[in-house]
């Protein structure tokens, strides 16, 4: 069970969190302008690296904030957690 360092609450057990998939997927500004293939790429396609992976997690049983984690998918080692852009940055 992972030990995750929530940027707001500190270290907590994995059971308090939920996984949100790959970080850095930005919703297209104008979806209607995208081809089917481009939209499908945004909607379905995700990286599945062996090694470093930046991903979203939510402290769903705690502060309910979303944040990012860089985790090694092979060793599960967490290199660090980071706050997302916007008003939480600081």
């Amino acid at each position: 069970m992972l030990l995750i360092d929530c940027p707001w609450c500190g270290e907590r057990a994995e059971t308090e969190f939920s996984y949100g998939g790959e970080a850095g997927i930005t919703r297209p500004k104008d979806p209607a302008a995208l081809s089917d293939a481009e939209w499908a790429d945004y909607l379905f396609m995700r990286n599945n690296p062996k090694g470093a992976h930046r991903e979203l997690w939510n402290h769903s049983q705690g502060c309910r904030r979303w944040f990012g984690i860089e985790r090694d998918t092979l060793t599960y080692r967490i290199a660090g957690t980071f706050r997302l852009h916007g008003k939480d940055e600081g």
Partner: protein, 994 residues
């Protein structure tokens, strides 16, 4: 009661002042507090404890711990019975009952032991070769296999015992309290670190328990006691005995099963450790000679342990067979216990004279350069055949020497217990010098020490443990000093001679069986056969021969088996590798996994504020997620169908009342509330006037319907949303995720009101009259308070929100009230409604009423592959704005012909109620495979309409109204149905608008 014939007159760590009685296979025996079931059986001279799994060969106790493959017994009876218990790890208690799991009609005479005579039939891959054909016989095969195999029977009633879970944190967790573990714990504790020391034995000390080896100038027992006493002095040190560390999970999360005794049977420790020291020791390995499974063949270290810890000498005339130094101590222990040691047989040609002298000094003949090749006796060891050997594994043994004995103590060297290190992701490596797998690079914050790290001598173990403890404490930031090492006797070591398969008088494929895995009856010849049949990879050979598949997971024989595989392949052991080590290290009970989380504590139960009224009204309940909701309110003599029929008709004719408090409720406010909801919802949110309600669909970004509910505009920048009961938490999280990750520039605040507010739905043509009768502060007329609008009001003196929304198709009011007042308001409504014969209804009637109107339930009529267009709701999709999921609705798959669409179904006979989930087909009797064109999603008897109704998803269904298709009723029965529009009742919506 039998006499404890093998119990020594003195010594051991048992408490002779506390005698215990127990039963084994129907006979009474005696033992002492401190015994294990195994030591007590051996004390009583019980040799034969079980029959083997496949060949039903007689088996006895071979080990003294987790490695035991044979003495796996059934404990107790009835609800508290425990299968699959290793006698070597079961603490003896008064009144314990145990029995063998195999052997019919009796353990001594087992009819299935004929399997052994036909052993060649039961070779590697036996299951695959024998039970495959013909396929239609599989049911018979399975029943036969299940009856003849198995390691006991599961209890058929709830477990009466109690279990608990406990969380703990520490700086340094030390696994194993042998010499290395004790030194590691001491070093870490003295540095100030929080330490947990866990050991599976009854008392700390590991291999030293009961030993008279001098450590630091005093007997080992005294040294152990001094260390443990010092450890217990520290506030932040916890010493856990009877505690097996069975799982090493991610990020140093370690699980420990502790045997408690008393009314708490077991405790699960969930430990998060900053550093872990693995000092769990090594397993002695057997040697593969003919008939090496006869009762009375035991591991040398186990023989020593029984003598020293339990004062039990398992035999009178012993032979010791070894390829390394460690078994010499066993020979000395046997002699000290009064047994005659007929010979110490050492495969090595020469051994340090110091060691040999010590054994010969007590009168034990030492045969260097000899091997034990075969064992005489069937139910028990009667003697051994010994041959001269020059180290050539391909040689044929001459068996020139025959030694009578009743005990054979065997040592084939040691395998470090790398299990936890490997579970933690660490690499293991073959050590060419020590001839064993040792822990290599760690992946997590752990280090191995002692014999688990390939250190054999006591001095090395103490040093290795201390160094690991110091290093672990320093890694946690403690300024750890190195404790002084106690002085121990150092001896010359003669290296182990690698020996796995012992040469026999005949060739290895036809000689008597040489067992590798005792639990699965896997022999040397099986591994050799697997190789001949083309298996090379260790994982394949494991599965083909079942090597290491038992509940002991091959702790005894796996490495030996892999070495035999390597020899057969002509490859080095290192290149063959091992199979994967996975948790649990030893079998753990379901009880300890569940802990307190059984029965009422299995899952939290959510009840509405009105729950107690429902209970007193005799409601039948159903679980909706964690909610307990009234399902229906049966009157005397009513079943589900008749109660629901009455509830439906009462609602349609006068008034029904529903506790809808479980609806998800979300308050949305903030500067950008409109902009945010416009992006979420398909309809035009900003166009809604304050005080108006709208049905809202929520789509996933894939365009599929995710949830639905009613949205109400409370102000310029404030909305109130309802969600489905099951979707409440998910929808809130979904909305939050968009705000936090994608649109952090929007200023919007989301608050769950699900528990703060209760919702009472009053539905039916008389519902307005009821509210007017109660005294309502606002005009409830159709003109002043139209359908799909909301008003703040005082009702019966309570502040409420009134919504003119309807999930039944009737004139209806949903009343939101502070949950503190909900029960009072409900009671007031019930009292005032008596003149209208107000009828409480539950979820079943709610479902029927909405289905009559064709209102879908997300998750029942949809399944994650249904778009709003499939539901016929395209009018809700705004054309001139973007919203989540919109682009996906234009994907080719979403606009193709022939998508499944929502329709109604009527049974042609007007009577048959279809099955929900039933497959729909065009024509019965079509050629197989019959194309499925859809399925029934909702189906009820409508007493209001006088016939059954159903909703379904049918390919291209909306253009097929009026056509006839067929529905499976199961068991080959087929119903003819007609496709109709999915609204059965009041299609003009006149009643709900009233």
């Amino acid at each position: 009661m039998a006499r404890q014939t093998n119990r020594l007159g003195s010594g051991g760590r048992i408490d002779r002042s506390r005698p215990l009685r127990f039963r084994f296979n129907g006979r009474d025996y005696g033992g002492y507090e401190g015994d294990t079931l195994a030591s007590a059986l051996l004390a009583n001279g019980v040799r034969l404890v079980n029959r083997s799994f496949k060949l039903h060969r007689p088996r006895g106790i071979i080990g003294c711990g987790a490695e035991e493959p044979n003495a796996i017994l059934q404990l107790g009876s009835g609800a508290g019975t425990l299968p699959n218990q290793r006698a070597t790890q079961v603490s003896l208690y008064d009144g314990l009952e145990a029995r063998s799991t195999r052997g019919w009609p009796s353990l001594r005479f087992d009819a299935s032991s004929v399997n052994d005579l036909f052993g060649r039939v039961f070779s590697a891959g036996f299951y695959y070769k024998t039970f495959m054909f013909p396929q239609r016989w599989w049911d018979y095969y399975e029943a036969f296999i299940r009856r003849s195999a198995g390691l006991g029977v599961a209890p058929d009633r709830p477990d009466p015992d109690r279990y608990e879970h406990r969380n703990a944190h520490c700086d340094v967790l030390v696994v194993g309290a042998g010499p290395a573990g004790l030194m590691a714990a001491l070093a870490a504790a003295r540095s100030g670190a929080r330490v947990i020391l866990a050991d599976q034995q009854r008392e700390p000390g590991g291999s030293l328990v009961g030993s008279d080896l001098p450590i630091g100038g005093r007997p080992a027992d005294e040294w152990i006691a001094a260390v443990v006493d010092e450890l217990r002095e520290f506030d932040d040190v916890r010493v856990l005995t009877h505690s097996i560390v069975f799982g090493y999970h991610d990020h140093n999360f370690v699980t420990i099963a502790q045997e408690c005794g008393g009314d708490m049977r077991e405790r699960l420790w969930r430990v998060r450790a900053r550093q872990v020291v693995l000092a769990q020791g090594a397993f002695e390995r057997p040697l593969a000679f003919c008939n090496n499974d006869r009762p009375g063949v035991m591991l040398a270290s186990a023989v020593s342990a029984y003598i020293k810890r339990y004062a039990v000498c398992p035999g009178r005339r012993a032979v010791v067979f070894t390829n390394n130094d460690s078994a010499y101590q066993c020979a000395l222990d046997l002699a000290h216990a009064g047994a005659t040691v007929g010979a110490l047989v050492d495969s090595r040609g020469s051994v340090s004279s110091e060691l040999t002298d010590r054994v010969e000094a007590v009168g034990i003949p030492v045969l260097h350069g000899h091997i034990v090749t075969d064992v005489r006796g069937r139910l028990s060891v009667g003697g051994v055949r010994v041959a001269r050997w020059n180290g050539d594994t391909d040689a044929r043994a001459d068996n020139s020497i025959d030694i009578r004995c009743d005990l054979l103590a065997v040592s084939g060297g040691w395998n470090p217990a790398v299990h936890l290190h490997s579970q933690a992701g660490g690499a293991i490596a073959w050590d060419e010098r020590r001839h064993c797998f040792v822990p290599a690079e760690s992946r997590q914050a752990n280090r191995s020490a002692g014999s688990g790290n390939g250190r054999w001598s006591l001095a090395d173990c103490l040093r290795d443990g201390r160094d690991a403890g110091v290093a672990a404490a320093r890694s946690c930031g403690f300024d750890a000093a190195e404790p002084e090492l106690p002085v121990v006797e150092e001896r010359d070591e003669t290296p182990l001679q690698p020996l796995w398969r012992v040469p026999a008088a005949r060739d290895p494929d036809s000689c008597p069986k040489q067992f590798l895995d005792f639990q699965n009856d896997t022999c040397v010849a099986d591994v050799r056969l697997a190789v001949r049949e083309g298996y090379r990879n260790v994982e394949h050979v494991k599965r083909y021969t079942a090597l290491g598949f038992g509940t002991d997971q091959g702790k005894l024989g796996n490495i030996t088996g892999m070495a035999v595989l390597a020899e057969t392949l002509g490859a080095p052991v290192a290149s063959v590798g091992t199979t994967t080590f996975r948790p649990p290290f030893t079998p753990v009970s379901f009880g300890v996994c569940a802990g307190e989380g059984v029965g009422e504590l299995y899952d939290p139960v959510r009840k509405t504020a009105i729950h107690e009224w429902h209970v007193s009204a005799g409601a039948a309940f159903e679980n909706v997620g964690q909610w307990h909701r009234p399902w229906y309110f049966p009157r005397a003599g009513e079943d589900l169908n008749s109660a629901v029929a009455r509830e439906c008709l009462a609602t349609r004719r006068s008034i029904g009342i529903l506790d809808a408090s479980t609806l998800g409720k979300i308050d949305v406010q903030g500067r950008d509330a409109v902009a945010f909801l416009e992006r979420i919802y398909p309809h035009k949110v900003g166009r809604m006037a304050v005080g108006r309600c709208a049905y809202g669909l929520m789509l996933g970004e894939d365009g599929m319907v995710m949830d639905d509910g009613v949205m109400t505009r409370l102000g310029d920048r404030r909305y109130y949303l309802t969600t489905t009961t099951g979707g409440a938490a998910r929808v809130l999280a979904w909305l939050e995720s968009w705000l936090q990750t994608e649109w952090p520039d929007l200023e919007v605040y989301l608050t769950s009101l699900t528990d703060q507010l209760s919702t009472i739905s009053v539905a039916g043509p008389n519902s307005r009259r009821l509210l007017e009768k109660l005294g309502c502060s606002i005009d409830l007329s159709r003109e002043q308070f139209p359908f799909m609008s909301m008003r703040q009001a005082d009702l019966a003196g309570l502040p409420v929100q009134l919504f003119r929304v309807s999930f039944s198709g009737e004139l209806a009011f949903e009343i939101n009230v502070d949950s503190a007042h909900a029960l009072a308001l409900w009671q007031t409504l019930m009292d005032a409604g008596r003149e209208f014969e107000i009828t409480p209804y539950g979820t079943e009637t709610m479902h029927v009423l909405r289905a009559e109107k064709g209102f879908v339930i997300v998750g029942q009529d949809t399944d994650g592959s249904v778009t709003p267009i499939d539901l016929g709701l395209e009018r809700m999709l705004a054309k001139d704005k973007d919203f989540l999921g919109k682009r996906s609705l234009a994907r080719p798959d979403c606009v193709r012909e022939g998508r499944k669409q929502l329709v109604g179904l009527l049974s042609a006979d007007g009577r048959t109620v279809l099955r929900e989930g039933a497959q729909l087909i065009e024509e019965p009797g079509a050629a197989h495979p019959v194309p499925m064109i859809g399925h029934v999603t909702s189906s009820y008897m409508s007493d209001c309409l006088g016939h059954p109704i159903a909703l379904a998803l049918v390919a291209g269904g909306r253009s097929r109204h009026g056509e006839t298709i067929h529905a499976s009723l199961g068991a080959g029965s087929i119903a003819t149905v007609t496709i109709v529009p999915p609204v059965f009742y009041d299609p003009q919506n006149e009643r709900q608008h009233d």
